[in-house]
């Protein structure tokens, strides 16, 4: 069961579960989500 921790995976999990939502509509802002996911993958 013991696996080496990948903080990137944990971060991705957090970001997917806590998406940025627009102030007015409350909908997920996909452009921000994609930008951050790209940032995590390329870092």
């Amino acid at each position: 069961m013991e696996t080496k921790i990948q903080f990137k995976t944990e971060l991705l999990h957090y970001i997917l579960m806590n998406p940025v939502r627009s102030e007015q509509s409350g909908r997920v802002v996909f452009s921000e989500q994609f930008a951050i996911i790209l940032k995590i993958i390329t870092s």
């Binding site: 921790i5 944990e10 957090y14 579960m17």
Partner: protein, 545 residues
């Protein structure tokens, strides 16, 4: 009381200001010490007569110890003990004749309930020097007119000359910024918090003369005196002799029963304990402990009933006393049995809050039984029991709040337990999390944390996560809070935990992305409001276990 009413109002508003600044959107830490540094000298100044009393100094030591414990490890337990110390401190400072916590707490709580009344009417409730009270108002009236005229002329010049406006701006903008920083974030909640602060400070500083219980305490004596007055009764009470006989039978039977229970415990638990597979140790300790505690408390109640008033002076009552001592001694053995059960449980499952609680409770039971022995032996009153045991309880709890149990429990369990309960460990406060090996946490997504599922935190009703996800989220949240919090929430163990986490380069790399994300998320979701105000609530550890 030395001061006049205006001065008292000034102290209340100053205190409420300090309270607002120190605690609004802050967690307990350094702010507690700042608050204590205001309260203690002010109370000493307002009620100098309390300074000569020993109970006042005992509680002051407790209060300072609790605030020191909060600066060091900021645990929930230390915070609760700080609140209890404040309640006691108010009681002892306001009424210098109070001697025991049993009377200080009701008097302090009565003062708390009457606070709104006290605030508006303390002129009528405290002795004041009315001649001086109008001096402050006189000065205010003297200044109002000149200041209004000055503002009118300033506005004229400001609009008339550009150069004057430019220089005035240089002076006024920093002041405006300062005022904006102070009051810019006024919300209904912050006004409510300020009013709450005013009431709290009024409670602490101003005493209401209706809450004096020291006269009631004066009537209580430590020693019992024999009551020889014969009163005419409308119905028949058991006479001393018949009561003695009934108590005698009860004590003999109960002593035999407890002796049998003690022999079983000594043979099977003290010396012959073996852990067998499939044995429900939880039931064995939890239920066993609760029942034993109940039995000890019940026996104290019965003894208190038997040895009330004149039974203490009954000439043939010596056998009764011997039987009672035997029962107290047997209760001590019962308490040791509880301790041994607790020890076995700790050996197999490690430390937990309740197990530490049982240890503290047992020390108190020991103290209680010894004072009971003295009560019967030297014919002391129930007030004697209440006074000494309440002090023992307070002081022992203060001493135990000095330790950071989260870190002690985590370190002990990691060192001594063969099978670690990781679900319990990830629930610890963040100061204990650096000791938990993150690689050993389960990645099973079915992990559900009831604390989070029940809250409205970030759409959690469909929040699926593993224990490891939860741990990392806690750590990121802690690091972010530590960096955005003011120095007011500072605590030494949090600082150590922060340094510990930041020494891991992999974690730091991911945390930086997390931090940028949180700031951007705040900006998009809440506009450009103060980021501190929009922080998600910190998830505290579940210390009820």
């Amino acid at each position: 009381m030395k001061s006049n009413n205006s001065f008292r109002y000034f102290l209340i508003f100053a205190g409420a200001g300090i309270y607002q600044w120190a605690f609004w959107h802050e967690t307990p830490g350094l702010n507690i010490s700042i608050f204590t540094a205001f309260i203690v000298p002010t109370l000493l100044f307002l009620y100098p007569e309390s300074v000569k009393k020993v109970p006042f100094w005992l509680v002051l030591t407790g209060l300072l110890s609790a605030s020191l414990a909060i600066v060091v490890h900021a645990s929930l337990f230390a915070t609760i003990m700080y609140v209890i110390s404040i309640i006691l401190f108010v009681g002892f400072a306001h009424w210098s004749q109070t001697k025991s916590p049993v009377f200080a707490i009701p008097s302090s709580i009565a003062n708390l309930v009457l606070t709104p009344y006290t605030f508006f009417a303390f002129k009528n409730y405290v002795a004041t020097n009315n001649k001086k009270s109008s001096v402050f108002l006189k000065w205010v009236k003297l200044f109002v007119l000149p200041v209004v005229i000055l503002i009118v002329f300033f506005t004229i010049f400001y609009n008339a000359s550009d150069k004057f406006a430019e220089y005035s701006d240089k002076v006024l903008f920093p002041i405006q910024d300062f005022i904006y920083n102070l009051f810019g974030n006024i919300t209904f909640a912050s006004i409510f918090f300020f009013v709450h602060g005013i009431l709290l400070i009024t409670w602490i500083l101003i005493r209401n003369k209706n809450t004096n219980l020291s006269d009631a305490e004066k009537n209580q004596t430590v020693n019992i005196t024999r009551n020889k007055v014969r009163r005419k009764r409308h119905f028949q009470f058991l006479g001393l002799k018949r009561e003695y006989l009934s108590a005698f039978i009860l004590l003999v039977l109960i002593n035999l029963l407890v002796l049998a229970a003690n022999i079983v415990d000594i043979v099977f638990i003290w010396f012959g304990f073996e852990f067998k597979e499939g044995m429900n140790l939880k039931q064995f300790v939890h239920e066993g402990t609760y029942l034993l505690i109940l039995s000890i408390l019940l026996s104290m109640g019965i003894l208190l009933y038997i040895f009330r008033k004149n039974q203490n002076f009954y000439s043939k009552g010596k056998i009764l006393k011997v039987l009672s001592f035997a029962w107290i001694f047997q209760n001590l053995i019962l308490a040791i049995s509880v301790g041994v059960r607790n020890y076995h449980y700790m050996e197999y499952y490690g430390l937990a809050y309740k197990r530490v609680g049982v240890c503290i409770f047992l020390i108190l039971v020991f103290f209680g039984l010894i004072t009971f022995f003295i009560k019967i032996m030297q014919k002391k009153s129930s007030y004697f029991l209440l006074k000494f045991n309440s002090w023992a309880m307070y002081l022992l709890l203060i001493i135990s709040s000095l330790f950071s149990w989260d870190t002690i429990i985590t370190k002990y369990n990691i060192k001594h337990c063969k099978e670690l309960d990781y679900e319990f460990l990830v629930h610890m406060s963040t100061k204990a999390l650096p000791f938990v090996d993150i690689n050993k946490l389960s990645t099973d997504l079915s992990y559900k944390n009831p604390w989070i599922i029940n809250s409205n935190y970030n759409y959690d009703y469909f929040y699926v996560f593993s224990m490891r996800n939860y741990y990392v989220k806690q750590v990121f949240n802690f690091l972010y809070d530590w960096e955005t919090d003011k120095f007011l929430s500072w605590s030494y163990y949090d600082k150590l935990a922060y340094q510990n986490f930041m020494s891991n380069p992999e974690l730091v790399k991911s945390y930086k992305i997390y931090k940028d994300y949180r700031i951007k998320k705040n900006q998009i979701e809440n506009g450009n409001k103060n980021s501190v105000q929009n922080r998600t609530p910190a998830l505290h550890s579940d210390e009820s276990r």
